[in-house]
Each structure stands twice: as structure tokens, then as C-alpha cells.
Symmetry: C2
Subunit: 284 residues, 2 copies
């Protein structure tokens, strides 16, 4: 009769991982084996108590139960623990000079109207107007024609249109612009304002217990796509914002902070200029 | 202006953990710092992709949403990944000779009737009868009087009474016995049968993907309490069961496997004998 190695504190990782069947998908096996090892190492390192384990079970349960079509509390948990930005970083190790990615966020909407360059996307008349200009370039500094620039921001009350249906005009502070041969873009929006992530659930409670706030620094979202280049999901952050150093979801990168300059003569109060540099997707 | 270390792949752990406020409870700080480190290490080690991250978010969300008063899918997840047994092992490092713990399981019910020694707890007349006998002892081999022994098992169809309300008699295969000065216990139940954990949810799907089955080897549950001794939560496992080496929740320990012996002359078909050894709680 073969000797059986039953589960013990010492062999816990091996005992669990040895159970995986031979036909298990190799990638799933790799991911699960690593997950079990790090999870058990964590439990052992801190000596997790049964009372703490119960708190964890309850936290995860409530986090799942708060999720619905409007709210994804597990993504919020991933965001606030830096996991979302880490996964994004691993997927987008770009060469120096290329525009960096940041979090996509939950407020993008497909199908925003495509507008001529120079159009204004702020439809509610609120906030401080700002002209956004710049170019879409390749790594050699050559303009990219046909780049599709999808932009969105909150209004001056700190809410996206989809958070206030009926209250904000549809497509308020959203638009799509397509570059011509010079790679230039040019549109008018507002100077966005900082806003808190939803903090009335388990994640908000966690942030409070950790002495953290739920605020994101003011930012304009950009999604750049082009058939020949890698998609860019990014923001422009407003230089000088109070929350740049403490973004609740760790989205800030130094290269994404832009100066908003007051305009003395012109039809907007501010202007912000930034070029975007796209790279070819990794060849397969 | 101080230089700010924004989140990067390289400093991700430090960036997240540095956010914790100075007033954070020291134990919470310790647990969260370790959790974030192991979580990020896992993501980096496997190079978790965005598609895999989406699968994980969806899995966790569905696991939370399946939980209700009858079903705790996150505990099932913890059980099947060996975390529950690990937490139990850390909390109960007992000296050699003491009875080992195992999982509590979801089917205990408070308030089962206290019965005289020798009573039969099987009320539905199903299954193969078994006499359980033994003693409750201290580490010196001295009998412990006044030990409260709460026992429960499935019936021969593999279900606990609470899983089949109206179908099984109330308190079927449950009872409480209190030892006298000789420390002996003696009751009649059935030889339990192996049963699967609930496998129609995300955890069952995970087990299938991992080439694992949902079965637990047959066992009789024991909960021993006494004012002067540490509580014991354990099972007796039926020697020879097909699933001893592959308990879906990793609950088997060699010391908990007992021989069920056929009875030639007597009023039961089987007999099982086991002593339990209680220890004093750690002094504070
Ligand atoms: Cu680890
Ligand atoms: Fe945003
Ligand atoms: Fe059980």
C-alpha cells in the first residue's frame, strides 16, 4: 500500500497542487500552482487567525454581492490594491518615447459621436473650458493619419454623463476625433475635476480602515486606436492636482501629467497640449 | 517640490503599501502589506494577462453572488484550495498524542439532543449500524469527566438531515453525549458514506477544470468541548474509503482514520473505537 502524504502545515502547497489532474491545461496549471503557493505563503507569513479568515470570507462575499450591471466592486478592489495597474503594466511594456497606458476605468461608452476637429464636447455649459491640442506620432516623430481619438471626462460636478442620466445631456464631455495627414487633433472640453471612486461599499470601508482616501486626480481620458498601431488607453492628468501623489487607483505616471495654461486671448479659459506616440503591436 | 515615486511595475508593492496611513491598526497593516506583496508577486510571476484577470474578476464575482443563507461558495473555495485546513493547522499546533483537528464543515447544528450513553442517533432506519466507543483522555492518559461530545454524520444516502428537511427526521444522525468519571463514550450511529461537496457552482467548475473530483471520504463528525480543555473539531474517517487520499477539502489526517470492524455477535453491524485526547488551552 503506497504511503500517502496527507495535508500538513509543512506540505500544504504541494498537497494542494499535487491534486491537479494530468490533463489540466498547462497554463491553468501554472497559474493555479503559483496562486496556491503565494496564497499559502501569505497565510503562513502572517499567521492568519480563524477570526481574520472569517473577516476575509465575509469581505469577499459582500464584495461579490454588491456587483451588478452598474457596479463592479471586485474591479474596484483590484484597482485600489494596484493589481489593475500592474496587469496593465505587464501587458504594455513599451519602448521609451511611446505614450504610457493607464487604467481604462468604468465610464467609457462605445459609440460616442465622431466630430470635426475644433468641436466642443462640453454640452452642459458647466466648468472651465479648455482647448486640447497636439499630434499623434510614431516613434520616429512622423505624424500618424487616421488615428481615432476617443475622449471622455467628468463634468465640473465630478460626474460622467452615464452617472447622471437625464441630468446631463447624452454624450456630455465625450467625442471621437480622427487625425488627418498632419496627425493633429484639436478639440474643446473642460478642465476636468478630481472625483472619488464609489466608496460606500466594502472597498470604501477598506480604504477608510487603511487611512486612504477614495479620490482620483482630475484627468481627461484618451483611447487611441489605429489599424497598424497598438491601442493606447490613457489619461492626461492636470498638473498641480491635489491627488496626483495619492490617486486611489495608482493610475498616475509622470509622463501623463500636463500643464493646463490659462488663455489670455481666445475662446477658452485654458489650454492643454500633448502629443501621443503610438507603437506597432508586437509581431507574432 | 518633493520627487514623487509613481506606481511602476518595479515598485508596485511599495507604492501600494506606502499609502497606508500612520494610524492604521498595526495588525491590519501587517496583514495587508503581506497580502499585497504576495498578490503582486503572483501576478508578476505568472505574467497574468488582461484576459486572465477578467476571468478572475468574473470568477470572484460569481462566487460571491452564489452565497446566501444556505450556501457559502467562498468557504468552499477556501476549503478546496487548502486554505481552511491551513488556517486550522496554524491555530491548533498540538503536542504529540493530542487529537488532531480537521475542518468543521457547514452541517453542524447547535442544540442537538443530549442523550444517555448507548443511545442510537440514526432515526431513519437507513444504513449499516455501527457502535462507537472510546474514552476522552488528557495527555497523561487520565479520563476526562464532563467532556461534551457532539456528533453528526450524513445518512446512508449521503445527506445530512438539514439538507433534506421534511425528508429526514429532525436530529437524524446527531446527538450530544457527556462523559462520566471514566471518560467513556458509547453510542450507536451508522457507518457513514462518502459524499460530494456542492459542485454546481464556480468552485465545482474550477475542480472540473483542474481534473479534481468533489468527493469527501466517509466520516463521522466530532466536536468535543470542556471548560478546562481546548475545543476539538474533528472527524473519524472510515479506513479503506476510496477518497481518503483525495478528500476534496484536504481534511484527512492519518491519526483520524479508524478501522470499522464487522460485528459477528451484537446489535450492530459494525463497531469503531477511538480515544480522544484533549489538551489545556494555551495560557495567556
Ligand atoms: Cu508570495
Ligand atoms: Fe475617470
Ligand atoms: Fe461532513
Amino acid at each position: 500500500m503506497p504511503r500517502i502524504d496527507y495535508f500538513t502545515e509543512a506540505n500544504s502547497v504541494e498537497a494542494v497542487n499535487a491534486r491537479m489532474g494530468e490533463a489540466t491545461d498547462p497554463r491553468l496549471r501554472e497559474v493555479m500552482a503559483s496562486l496556491v503557493r503565494h496564497l499559502h505563503d501569505f497565510v503562513k507569513e502572517v499567521g492568519l487567525t480563524q477570526a481574520e479568515w472569517e473577516v476575509a470570507i465575509d469581505f469577499l462575499t459582500r464584495t461579490g454581492q454588491l456587483c451588478d450591471a452598474q457596479r463592479q466592486e471586485f474591479i474596484l478592489l483590484s484597482d485600489t490594491l494596484g493589481v489593475s495597474m500592474l496587469v496593465d503594466a505587464l501587458a504594455h511594456r513599451r519602448p521609451a518615447g511611446a505614450t504610457e497606458n493607464t487604467v481604462f476605468g468604468p465610464f467609457h461608452v462605445d459609440g460616442a459621436p465622431e466630430l470635426p476637429m475644433g468641436s466642443c464636447i462640453s454640452l452642459d455649459g458647466k466648468g472651465e473650458s479648455c482647448r486640447y491640442t497636439g499630434r499623434v506620432l510614431d516613434l520616429d516623430g512622423q505624424p500618424i493619419a487616421g488615428a481615432r481619438i476617443d475622449v471622455w471626462s467628468d463634468n465640473s460636478d465630478g460626474f460622467y454623463d452615464v452617472q447622471q442620466p437625464g441630468q446631463q445631456p447624452t454624450w456630455n464631455n465625450r467625442g471621437v476625433f480622427v487625425t488627418g495627414p498632419d496627425g493633429r487633433y484639436d478639440f474643446v472640453g473642460i478642465k476636468p475635476v478630481s472625483y472619488p471612486i464609489p466608496d460606500d461599499g466594502p472597498v470604501g470601508h477598506m480604504l477608510t480602515r487603511l487611512g486612504r482616501h477614495p479620490w482620483r486626480p482630475a484627468h481627461m481620458h484618451f483611447l487611441l486606436t489605429h489599424p497598424d498601431y497598438e491601442r493606447i488607453v490613457t489619461h492626461l492628468f492636470v498638473a498641480g492636482d491635489d491627488y496626483l501623489a495619492s490617486d486611489a487607483v495608482f493610475g498616475v505616471k509622470a509622463s501623463l501629467i500636463v500643464a493646463y495654461r490659462p488663455v489670455s486671448q481666445g475662446d477658452t479659459e485654458w489650454e492643454a497640449a500633448a502629443d501621443f506616440v503610438m507603437v506597432k503591436p508586437p509581431s507574432r
